[in-house]
């Protein structure tokens, strides 16, 4: 946190709420967390962020034994905790059912993320998870899809079936070039390797197969970085995994052979220790040397937490920017929110986590995204044409002017019809 204190006053305001989040969530995953030294005003300020990022129940757990629990913000967090408890119970039933369905079809699945990490928390309501990620051996994928066909409408919960582990952010290397059916062969090899290291854990009466501890910690670290670390919950996951390592945990297996990926994993572990006070004995020498996070990283993550903005939910750049062309401040804010993603950019460009400036990676990522501009432009034009078309249809069949007017106003304010004359 020293690095953060050295930053200028102006930039400090950019991660003020992120710092409060960090202070509240430090150690919040433990069975008996310490009482936080946070004022009610600060809690009120960050409660919406906690709710947006799925960390509300952890916030509640941390304040349960403090006076903050009775505050309105505390009650809001308590409500979230209740919801997550029930949600977890429903999910657990579903997971057990999905496993029984697949096993009846002769398929042995592996559950990743979600419950696989939630089970490590001291209370089932602390770690919410939305979708159920199930991986099956690539050659059994079609059969698994068939077996789970009956679950297509599972009351708002999503079963995400994966063919092998290829789509998960494991990065244990890429398929060798020149191989016949290289991609398939690689996916199957990866499956066999990770399946062999997977473990069975109890969920009620069912035994659920999850990844081995090493692969799991690795996936948590890489998923966090790849997603830009905008959710503090993901760093709590890393902290929980770190504090519940098995006695025979194999660090070499977790870090892997690729020095760059090992650096990423080590860096994330360093972050969990720096921002959340995660404790872990037996950190190997190789990891200790690498886990010192670069100076820019903690402030960058606190800025992400300060915004708590899901990058997936950010509107495509082109329409968002065009909509703000007349307001310079908002226009530059739109640019900044897309630019200020140094963690995601570094991973997207497969860069090193060192103290070098991040802008080359950020620029590189921006250029990668320019390929999406024609698609965004085409989609905007199609949407506008559809709007014009439906307006024309309504106009032609003689719908009253009262109803037609708002639609016309909306169309006139569209970016491509703006000719300087505003309504």
């Amino acid at each position: 946190m020293d690095l953060i204190r050295k930053s200028s006053g102006a930039s400090r305001s950019h991660f003020q709420r992120g710092r409060f989040l960090s202070a509240l969530l430090a150690g919040a995953w433990r069975a008996v967390p310490t009482v936080p030294s946070l004022t009610e005003a600060k809690l009120t300020e960050i409660a919406p962020l906690l709710c947006q990022t799925g960390s509300a129940a952890l916030g509640w757990w941390r304040i349960t034994n403090s006076e903050l629990a009775a505050s309105p913000a505390g009650q809001e967090l308590h409500e979230a905790y209740r919801k997550f408890r029930l949600s977890a119970l429903i999910h657990e039933r579903e997971i057990a059912y999905i496993f029984s369905l697949l096993r009846d079809a002769g398929i042995e699945p592996v559950l990743v993320k979600g419950w696989a990490i939630a089970r490590l928390y001291p209370d089932r309501g602390l770690r919410p998870y939305g979708d159920i990620d199930i991986c099956v051996r690539p050659d059994r994928f079609a059969k698994a899809e068939q077996a789970l066909k009956c679950l297509e409408s599972l009351d708002g919960h999503y079963v995400d079936l994966h063919s092998g582990f290829a789509k998960l952010e494991l990065w244990y290397g890429r398929p060798a070039r020149g191989l016949h059916h290289g991609q398939d062969a690689h996916a199957t090899l990866l499956w066999d390797k990770l399946f062999e290291r997977s473990q069975l854990v109890s969920l009620g009466e069912e035994r659920i197969r999850v990844l081995g501890g090493e692969d799991h910690l690795r996936i948590l670290c890489l998923h966090l970085l790849r997603s830009g670390a905008w959710r503090p919950l993901w760093l709590c996951d890393v902290a929980v995994a770190l504090e519940t390592l098995a006695a025979d945990f194999d660090w070499e297996r977790c870090l892997g052979n690729d020095p760059k990926i090992a650096e990423w994993v080590a860096c994330t572990i360093g972050l969990a220790q720096q921002l959340l006070g995660a404790r872990s004995a037996d950190i190997p020498v190789r990891l200790s040397a690498q886990r010192e996070a670069p100076r820019w990283l903690a402030p960058a993550i606190l800025r992400q937490w300060n915004r708590s903005l899901n990058p997936h939910a950010i509107e495509p750049a082109l329409p968002a920017l065009l909509a703000q062309t007349l307001e310079a401040r908002k226009f530059f804010a739109e640019i900044y929110v897309r630019w200020d993603q140094p963690v995601r950019a570094t991973v997207a460009m497969r860069g090193r986590f060192n103290n070098w400036p991040r802008w080359p990676y950020q620029l590189g990522e921006l250029l990668l995204h320019t390929s999406e501009v024609p698609k965004q432009l085409a989609s905007m034009i199609v949407r506008r044409i559809n709007e014009l078309n439906s307006w024309w249809q309504r106009h032609r069949i003689g719908i009253g002017k009262e109803e037609a007017r708002p639609r016309r106003r909306r169309i006139r304010s569209a970016w491509f019809l703006r000719t300087g004359a505003r309504e």
């Binding site: 799925g54 409500e79 979230a80 209740r82 919801k83 997550f84 408890r85 029930l86 949600s87 119970l89 429903i90 039933r93 919410p128 998870y129 939305g130 979708d131 297509e152 409408s153 009351d155 708002g156 919960h157 999503y158 995400d160 997603s227 959710r231 899901n310 997936h312 939910a313």
Partner: protein, 162 residues
């Protein structure tokens, strides 16, 4: 007035409910109606004693001995009224005439009780969106402002991420 007949003996509903017991409260999820409820400790005690054989007077006596605090039949009726409303009883119960048309707030005021009031609150049903980052392929959209996972887009004609 509070005399009960055998057909009016309250019985807790057990089917299609997910019940989660916490130290101070009980969370209930109704799988039929997709509604979630939170019963405070007292309401949960009353609910658990609704076995279809015990009348409100006896329930009050048992709850009182468990709580070690005064707990009368009126409070049992207050709890039953709320449990009945959220369908946590196997069969609807007939309330005493003077309590039937009363709101919960008025009932509490009329009973003049502050402590050990059985309370049931409904909570917004848990949703996957609260925790999901994006909606996966073939997932229903739009859902709570959540986007489809890349590279999929929401197909509004089918309301699915395609």
């Amino acid at each position: 007035m509070k005399r009960t007949t055998a057909s009016h003996l309250p019985k807790m509903r057990k089917q299609n409910l997910i019940v989660d017991e916490l130290p101070d409260e009980v969370l209930v999820y109704d799988l039929d109606r997709h509604k979630a409820h939170c019963l405070n400790h007292t309401a949960a005690l009353v609910w658990r004693r609704c076995d279809g054989k015990t009348g409100p007077k006896e329930i009050a006596r048992r709850v009182q001995s468990e709580l070690d605090q005064p707990f009368n039949e009126d409070l049992v009726w207050l709890a039953l009224r709320q449990l009945n409303k959220i369908h946590l009883l196997a069969e609807p119960i007939v309330l005493p005439s003077q309590l039937a048309g009363m709101s919960r707030r008025r009932m509490i005021r009329a009973l003049g009780i502050a402590a050990t009031v059985p309370l049931v609150i409904s909570i917004v049903a848990p949703t996957a969106e609260a925790a999901a980052t994006c909606i996966p392929h073939n997932g229903t959209c739009p859902a709570g402002g959540l986007p489809c996972c890349a590279p999929f887009n929401c197909d509004l004609s089918k309301n699915q991420c395609k």
